[in-house]
């Protein structure tokens, strides 16, 4: 049996699950802060390979920015009960999330073709860092896609109609978060090198 605790709150108080998400985002930020600081520390030492970011990362940046817009609109249509529009927008958002992951992967294949090896013998930490940091970020995006699909299809199987936008709001907030996180990483990798 699944039990949940709901809160009859004073208006203006944040929903506990939303709050939990904010703390979790703080936690994820620390993880990436740890990795990028390690990057900075390691970069100042010898034997550091310089190479430029794959151009396709610009495309993926546009894709993920655009997906933030679509999920925002999806949330709006959900609240307005325009369900047809809502479904389309969710589908587009999920698709863009997957597209982002694919583009990142293509970027790495490009690097590989230029002879920049990410892992394995002969790899340079500079490339390995890029691979691990962006790879972890892609995992977080995919986590968002899964969460999106879960609430989307969950609605079909639920016996009662769901009017509360809370879970959608939570996923949307997370989605914007991974978007901003990527912008940070993109700026970091472009400027710091």
């Amino acid at each position: 049996m699944d039990m949940a605790v709901s809160n009859q709150q004073k208006s203006g108080r944040i929903h506990p699950h939303k709050f939990t998400l904010w703390v979790a985002m703080g936690s994820i930020v620390m993880m990436f802060a740890g990795l990028t600081s390690a990057y900075v520390v390691r970069r100042s030492q010898a034997n550091w390979l310089e190479f430029s970011l794959p151009n396709i990362f610009i495309a993926s940046t546009i894709v993920i920015l655009f997906s933030s817009l679509t999920i925002h609109l999806a949330l709006k249509s959900f609240k307005a009960r325009e369900m047809q529009r809502y479904r389309t927008l969710i589908a587009i958002t999920a698709f863009l999330g997957v597209l982002f992951a694919v583009l990142q992967f293509i970027g790495f294949t490009d690097l590989h073709k230029q002879g920049v090896q990410l892992f394995g013998q002969g790899s340079n930490p500079s490339a390995s860092f890029l691979g691990i940091i962006t790879g972890l970020h892609v995992l977080h995006v995919i986590g968002g896609v899964i969460a999106l699909l879960v609430i989307f299809f969950g609605a079909f199987f639920s016996k009662t109609k769901i009017y509360s936008p809370t879970s959608l709001e939570i996923v949307a907030t997370y989605w914007h978060f991974v978007d901003i996180l990527w912008i940070y990483l993109f700026v970091f990798f472009t400027w710091i090198r």
Binding site: V5, P16, M30, V41, W48
Partner: protein, 605 residues
């Protein structure tokens, strides 16, 4: 009533147990009540019992390696029988087994006992009860947190049974021992399992911490403002914040380590020469120091994750049993906050001898010594709370006083170590072992014992036996000082930590007898813990029954619940809070619980 949490099932049916007097439990199956329970009180007990199992195993490991240190020449045939020919040939613990034992002892005690066992137990048990909530913000995540910990435990336990043995490079898992499979037997499968277990553990801590923070901030009952929170909750709150912010960084460090181990990257590895393969590594330019930064950025907050909950428990128990308000409530909260902030700024004091830039080193010396200020404030407040108190010497109270004693003794040596000039000599000697076992290991364990003795009646509706508690306390505190105090002298004389046999070193031969003495006491103290274990389990079924819901005449909300509270904690409405938690001996009244409205004739506080 405004933010009263209500339990309801997924279908939306409300099981508001108003009329059941907390007995709706028998509608639940065994599985949902005892195994996959979402009741925070049951999850707390699961953490506690799992932690206790680990404490026994971890303690036993220390007894085994102390046998080696105290009696290096003696053969114990029983060891060969128990550990097998491979690990204890001829009744002597082999060097590999010794290092495996030391490493697993450290990992298990730091993470599984004093982090999960301590925070997991008391955060789960006390947060909803003391803030006045029916359960955690997300009981489901809370349940997951336990099961991730359980999975971590299973993996860690299994690493003891693999052929090449568990990881044996120390609880800090520095590369290259942790990064190179060929470095030692334990660096092979044992290290893989260690990493998996620790990753699961980090997930468990994060899930738990998220829940604790959001419960404390969002689920407090009416009238429970932040400044009316008991100090236990404040301490658990800062603990959770430290964990949520520092464990992810440890995870990043581990991820890089996993790539170095398995995918040929060079974050931590460089072209070092291996005697086992007679070749240099193909890696280039990695640095083990990078790992140390990432590890200690967690590692130092981690030691405060271990001590803060105990500080909270002790503050609460002391005030209750001294029948006096805690001295300097706001200063107590402020110093917890200061410690939590400073905890993130001092990690490099573990790295004074890594070739750290001396200027940077002196910054870290300053920041490290600053921690002494909030620590001293806390000690001062505890002592003033005791001063002229009407003290009830319950076992919980004795362990709380013992905690303060240990914290003072170990804190003082911290000030020695915080000076980099002294640390150059003391680093990696037995002085460090003495320092952190007293200030962290024993102190925190004392906080945990205090908490168990004190809240046992709330957990099981029965008392533990007092006499056994007293015997347990006196043997443990005397033993702890006898074990760890002499180690300071060994450390000052330069005796390094983590050696297998000191009797073959001319400089350390003088300590043969002392080491034997320490080992003997360790054995006795370990045996004395069975008094506690017996007391704990015997009392669950046979202990004296509670007749009043508030056995210690305490003010906090958990004692307003029925003796056997069901899931949801209060049968009726959640009580409203009208005052802070420390109205002891006020206006001629012995105590005034938090849910009692402020009377017209009452003086202000």
């Amino acid at each position: 009533m405004s933010n009263e949490a209500v339990l309801h099932t997924g279908t939306g049916e409300v099981i508001h147990d108003t009329h059941h007097d907390g007995h709706h439990d028998h509608h639940q199956s065994f599985i949902s009540k005892y195994v996959f329970s979402q009741d925070h009180k049951m999850i707390a007990k699961q953490f506690l019992i799992t932690g206790m199992v680990w404490a026994v195993l971890g303690g036993l490991m220390s007894v085994l390696f102390r046998l080696q240190l105290g009696y290096p020449d003696q053969s114990f045939p029983i060891l060969e029988t128990v550990l097998g020919k491979h690990w204890a040939p001829g009744g002597h613990i082999s060097p590999e087994a010794y290092y495996a034992l030391v490493t697993t002892h450290g990992t298990v005690l730091v993470f599984f006992v004093l982090t999960a066992g301590l925070s997991g137990t008391f955060a789960n048990f006390l947060i909803p009860l003391q803030v006045g909530a029916r359960d955690m913000a997300s009981p489901f995540l809370n349940m997951l947190s336990y099961w991730f910990f359980f999975a971590a435990s299973v993996v860690m336990l299994s690493s003891i049974f693999v052929q090449t043995g568990p990881f044996s490079g120390g609880w800090t898992a520095y590369p290259p021992l942790s990064a190179l499979r060929d470095a030692s037997p334990g660096s092979k499968t044992g290290m893989d399992l260690w990493l998996i277990a620790m990753a699961l553990f980090v997930v468990s801590s994060l899930l738990g911490g998220l829940n604790y923070i959001s419960t404390i901030l969002n689920m407090r009952t009416k009238g429970m403002s932040m400044t009316r929170l008991p100090l236990t909750i404040w301490a658990l709150f800062f603990t959770a914040i430290l964990g949520v912010l520092s464990f992810p960084v440890l995870l990043s460090g581990f991820i890089l380590l996993i790539f170095d181990r398995n995918f040929g990257t060079s974050f931590y590895l460089s072209d070092i020469f291996l005697t086992s393969t007679n070749k240099a590594l193909p890696n280039e330019g990695g640095s083990a120091i990078l790992y140390q930064h990432l590890f200690w950025f967690l590692g130092h907050p981690e030691v405060y994750i271990i001590i803060l909950p105990s500080m909270g428990l002790v503050s609460e128990i002391m005030s209750t049993n001294a029948r006096k308000p805690i001295f300097g409530y706001i200063a107590m909260v402020g110093s917890l906050f200061a410690i939590a902030v400073l905890a993130f700024l001092v990690w490099a004091h573990h790295m004074f001898v890594t070739g750290l830039n001396p200027f940077l080193g002196s910054v870290f010396v300053l920041l490290t010594l600053l921690i002494a200020v909030p620590s001293a404030i806390k000690v001062f407040n505890w002592l003033t709370t005791l001063w002229r108190g009407n003290i009830r010497f319950t076992p919980g109270m004795l362990f709380s006083i013992g905690f303060v004693s240990m914290f003072i003794s170990g804190g003082l040596t911290g000030i020695w170590l915080g000076n980099s000039a002294l640390d150059v000599h003391l680093h990696d000697t037995y002085f460090i072992i003495a320092h952190f076992h007293i200030v962290m290991g024993v102190a925190s364990m004392f906080g945990m014992f205090a908490g168990i003795y004190h809240w046992y009646p709330k957990m099981y509706g029965r008392y533990m036996n007092n006499t056994l508690g007293y015997v347990h306390f006196w043997i443990t505190i005397a033993g702890a000082y006898l074990i760890f105090w002499p180690m300071h002298y060994e450390g000052l004389a330069g005796m390094p930590r983590r050696y297998y046999d000191y009797s073959i070193w001319e400089s350390f031969k003088q300590f043969i007898d002392l080491n034997r003495f320490i080992s003997t006491v360790a054995l006795i103290v370990f045996a004395a813990q069975f008094l506690f274990l017996f007391n704990f389990f015997y009392s669950i079924w046979k202990g004296r029954k509670l007749r009043t819901p508030n056995p210690w005449d305490s003010n906090t909300l958990e004692w307003t619940t029925p003796i056997h509270a069901g899931h949801g904690n209060w049968p009726g409405e959640i009580p409203e809070v009208h005052r802070w938690a420390y109205d002891y001996g006020k206006d001629g009244k012995d105590f005034i619980p938090q849910n009692v409205p402020v009377g017209a004739d009452e003086s202000q506080h």
